[in-house]
């Protein structure tokens, strides 16, 4: 059962999502995202699909299952999903309550997702369940900052941001550890706010 409050928030954002993120942010991050997604291999879970903006950065010929909590986002994403030159499906699903079997995927990729998952540790624990032991979690996420003055600014603005969309001051690396992953590599993309995180699901 999907979290209806979160679903409604992202349904409402779907209409303007490409307008806000489809040009400037995508153009700025495209090369980094292509580099990030180039390591895709095996059976892959991708969340959250959103309107499918990231699909253009996926390497061709992969086996990808995408999920998203918002039907309106998925509706916009479907043309991009259908045009992906590989095997890709997209399903309506809440990361807190996934119906995949245990150990179903070799890799999980996320892209600006765990700023918005209401219970990030529970969501990440769900990803660990569906990842094979030794499988990799690769995240492109924005987090809080440890650098003054951005640390204070992000904390101050977060109550407003979380009402409209994502949280902007989460410690996602700590959340990944708290969910039982072994964090392997963290790379700063912009300041210490936007980053790549790589982690491994340990053997049970």
């Amino acid at each position: 059962m999907a979290d209806s409050k979160t679903q409604a928030k992202w349904d409402a954002a779907a209409a303007s999502f490409d307008l806000m993120g489809g040009f400037g942010p995508e153009k700025r991050w495209k090369a980094r995202k292509e580099e990030f997604f180039s390591s895709m291999g095996g059976k892959i879970l991708f969340l959250a699909v959103g309107t499918g903006l990231d699909i253009q950065c996926f390497p061709a010929g992969k086996d990808i299952t995408g999920i998203d909590i918002s039907p309106k986002m998925l509706e916009k994403a479907m043309p991009r999903v259908e045009h992906y030159p590989g095997q890709m499906t997209a399903r309506l699903m809440d990361v807190h309550d996934m119906d995949f079997e245990d150990n179903a995927f070799d890799q999980v990729f996320t892209s600006c997702t765990f700023c918005s998952v209401p219970d990030p540790v529970k969501g990440l624990a769900g990803l660990r369940r569906v990842l094979k032991p030794g499988g990799t979690l690769k995240m492109f996420e924005h987090t809080g900052s440890t650098c003054f003055p951005f640390s204070v600014m992000l904390d101050l603005v977060n109550p407003l941001c979380r009402h409209l969309g994502p949280d902007i001051n989460r410690d996602t690396v700590a959340n990944v550890r708290a969910a039982g992953f072994e964090v392997g590599k963290v790379t700063n993309v912009y300041l210490d706010v936007v980053k790549f995180i790589e982690a491994v699901a340990p053997a049970a």
Binding site: L19, M20, G21, G22, F23, G24, P25, K27, R28, W29, H142, C147, P149, F150, M153, L156, V157, K185, V186, T187, N188, V189, Y190, L191, D192, V193, V194, K195
Partner: protein, 118 residues
């Protein structure tokens, strides 16, 4: 460090405009002869939302956090500095210069922080 001209232009534009607007608004609201600390706090309260709105407006064209964070910082600092004391005919220019300064700070911080952490 950003090297693409289009994005450097966008970063500068966002910070200059946001800093100038925040400073100009602060100059309108805060009289020049107010106690500096009070003026600074009111300037910050004006500059922060202006910075956020500026970052939000420029973001679709030039990037997300790379625009929003420097613009928000520019608005906040410009409001604080002008709130501490100003002459009305120079507020917007002062804010624009502060915007450039904030962007340079962000570029230097980015050069220090970017890359593999561990």
């Amino acid at each position: 460090m950003e090297r693409r001209v289009y994005f450097i232009f966008g970063d500068v534009l966002a910070c200059v405009v946001t800093g100038a607007v925040a400073a100009w608004l602060t100059g309108l609201v805060v009289p020049a002869d107010w106690f500096a600390l009070v003026g600074m706090i009111i300037g910050m309260a004006i500059g922060m939302p202006v910075g956020m709105i500026g970052g939000f407006l420029f973001s679709p064209f030039f990037g997300a956090f790379e625009v929003m964070l420097p613009a928000a910082l520019s608005g906040m600092i410009a409001g604080m500095v002008v709130g501490m004391g100003h002459t009305m005919d120079s507020t917007a220019f002062t804010g624009a210069v502060i915007g450039v300064g904030c962007l340079v700070f962000c570029y230097l911080l980015q050069a220090r922080l970017q890359g593999e952490v561990y």
